[in-house]
């Protein structure tokens, strides 16, 4: 098995990110998966995308457009 590299997209680890840890993953060509050096997460691009969607639940106002910044 050859050394891992960067994938075509640079994904951060969804498991670490859910703990507010910003860790870039590497891509293992042979098993076609991204994997984290810090934790036990491994997953395909589709799985990373799906877990990233999961991690977004915190940003409740993500789709809201803010027009004014002077009100409480």
């Amino acid at each position: 098995m050859a050394q891992a590299g960067k994938g075509k997209l640079n994904f951060r680890c969804p498991a670490c990110f859910m703990r507010d840890l910003d860790i870039d993953m590497f891509y293992d060509e042979d098993s076609r998966e991204y994997y984290c050096l810090r934790c036990c997460y491994t997953g395909s691009e589709a799985d990373v995308q799906q877990k990233n969607r999961m991690a977004r639940f915190r940003y409740r106002a993500m789709a809201k457009r803010f027009q004014r910044f002077d009100t409480r």
């Binding site: 098995m1 910003d22 050096l37 810090r38 036990c40």
Partner: protein, 286 residues
């Protein structure tokens, strides 16, 4: 606990290590960690990072470390580390500079590959007074060369040292040479926040020469043919040495404010069927 201590002492000698080759089942990653602990050192090797050392504690220093109100460590009972890849960045992913780790870089025609990027598995055995961890060979692909490299770690009982042997089993060009750069990047602490490094002394010595510097965050480096590189880390009363066998160049690298660590290393060129042997040694120094 006293009962357990009696039981443990009855079945163990002072130098006998505890070894655990752990494989992740619960998270389904199948990755392996190897933990070794004895009165001289504790370390963790991560097979998902080519056997890189991701944790190292200098137990040999036998630090007096009182904990509780009225002591310098009110709640932090951690024994200080020299390497802690999670608290101190480890193999770099996207920040500038490297964190603490003990690994090896292979270079061929300017291309560099760190063994941290190879995923492998290990086998453990006991040979007399030595615990041996043998890793499955990994393939390193350069643009015009592929080598198969095997790593073996040996923990000789009571030595306070970790011996590492890297061997090129196969090469797509048997005449080609690859530079191996065995290194340890370390610091000290118990948390993710850097400590003052100015008391650290970095040095190089061979049979006839000796020189060194006091750490001043100036990103300096130096090298010497043969010999060994060392770091004296007074706050944890430890001398860390990286020594190598055969023809090689030893070096050290000082860090800087945003990478407050030091690196000790040894470089050597090897080809198919050849090996590079290094020792990481910890000693008490005060």
């Amino acid at each position: 606990m006293a009962e357990f201590a009696d039981f443990y002492r009855a079945g163990h000698t002072y130098t006998q290590p505890e070894c655990a080759l752990w494989r992740d089942i619960l998270y389904g990653s199948d990755k392996q960690y190897f933990w070794h602990a004895d009165p001289y050192l504790r370390c963790c090797l991560d097979m998902n990072q080519g056997g890189a050392m991701i944790d190292l504690r200098p137990y040999v220093a036998k630090l007096y470390w009182p904990v509780g109100i009225g002591t310098p460590h009110v709640q932090d009972a951690s024994y200080p580390f020299l390497i802690q890849a999670n608290y101190r960045a480890g193999y770099f992913t996207h920040y500038a500079g490297e964190g603490t780790i003990r690994s090896c870089k292979l270079t061929h025609k300017g291309e560099e590959v760190d063994l941290c990027l190879t995923r492998t598995w290990a086998h453990f055995e006991k040979k007399g007074g030595t615990r041996v961890l043998t890793l499955d060979p990994v393939e390193i692909k350069f643009a015009d060369l592929t080598v198969t490299l095997q790593t073996e770690f040996e923990f000789e009982e009571g030595s306070g040292a970790v011996k590492t042997t890297r061997c090129i089993l196969e090469s797509s060009d048997p005449a080609a040479k690859v530079e191996l750069n065995e290194y340890i990047t370390a610091c000290y602490g118990t948390t993710e926040y850097p400590e003052d490094m100015t008391s650290v002394a970095l040095g190089l010595k061979n049979g006839s020469e000796e020189r060194g510097i006091r750490y001043a965050y100036r990103c300096r480096e130096d090298e010497m043919a043969g010999g060994e590189a060392s770091a004296l880390v007074p706050p944890v009363e430890t001398l860390v040495t990286l020594a190598a066998a055969g023809e090689h160049t030893a070096y050290y690298k000082e860090g800087y404010a945003f990478s407050p660590m030091f690196t000790l290393g040894a470089k050597s060129e090897i080809g198919q069927g050849e090996e590079m042997v290094t020792w990481l040694r910890l000693e008490k120094a005060n």
